[in-house]
Symmetry: C2
Amino acid sequence: MRLFDFHRAPNPRRVRIFIAEKGIEVPLVNVNLFQMEQLTPEFRAINPGGTVPVLETDDGLYITECIAICRYLETLHPEPCLFGKGASAEAQVLMWNGIIEHEGFHAVAEMLRNWSPGFRNRVFPGPQDIAQMPELIERGRKRSAQFFDRCEQRLLDSQFIAGDRFSVADIALLTLVDFSDWVELDVRASRPDLDRWYQGVSGRPSMGA
Amino acid sequence: MRLFDFHRAPNPRRVRIFIAEKGIEVPLVNVNLFQMEQLTPEFRAINPGGTVPVLETDDGLYITECIAICRYLETLHPEPCLFGKGASAEAQVLMWNGIIEHEGFHAVAEMLRNWSPGFRNRVFPGPQDIAQMPELIERGRKRSAQFFDRCEQRLLDSQFIAGDRFSVADIALLTLVDFSDWVELDVRASRPDLDRWYQGVSGRPSMGA
């Protein structure tokens, strides 16, 4: 088993933190996104979508999408449980992971990818050339604010984002909060409950992964 | 248990088809999106995100996100299995469900929501006013084409989208193919393997749900 990774990108970091929480070892293969290695024919034979992370399993399967990779590792290594125990807890974990991806990651990425010269024509991950549109930076900012306000409201009466236990959804949110620094969003300054949550989870040893 | 639903919208349909495949009964509560009922204070107390579907469980939990709702129902009603059996099969189901949501649904929705007068200022689901940008219609069209090409390539050597068994990911893809009619995309005309797959799955009795 090995993980195709890039140390600077937020999505591979979600999986590295998950692996660290499990206390397991998975060899990393560096795919340098700054040099567009994800778009080479060799890498697109592994993942036609041209994204990292990708987990190569021992039976030669390539798994993309953070939640699918983490679910695979959870089945192989059930403890500590990071997907919730029981139908209700598990549903809340998948629900919040989905909200964080669809409302959070897409919004912050919309800001960054329409802003940074490094993402010129790379407005979406993968092989397709799509031009930047500067007016989408503000749209992404507005969407990001709405998303983090929703997290703040949730964390007012929940210790972790998906309930009373740390989960894979907290890993997604922490990674996104750190990713927001790239677009100079200080998402915690005006959100005391998000900040309280962040102070708690960011101190876990896994977060250095 | 009951499901907050709207019969015309694609995401609630994913859950209705899933319920039909399970052979269970869940009462439906209609939330009329054409009349903006999803944005009333009463409904936003149920789902601050202002979207359907929402599953209300017997212990009073509100679950959003199709994959979370379906996972909840899968745990309660494991047969027939729609999430894959074993770590590898399950990972491929979650992987393809994620690809279909992030690359497929977002692309087709980008076309529709920037095009149709009915979505004026409703470019994203939920409570936020965001103006339409007609230039995003073509961007959505380009992204949609790339996504369906990827499905075509996959279905060249796979009976179902996530492997050799029908799964919740096929439900997502079928719903998306039908949703594409709304923006006048004939996604099957030039994709024979996608068409072969569609002919097979669309005949299932659940698809009338």
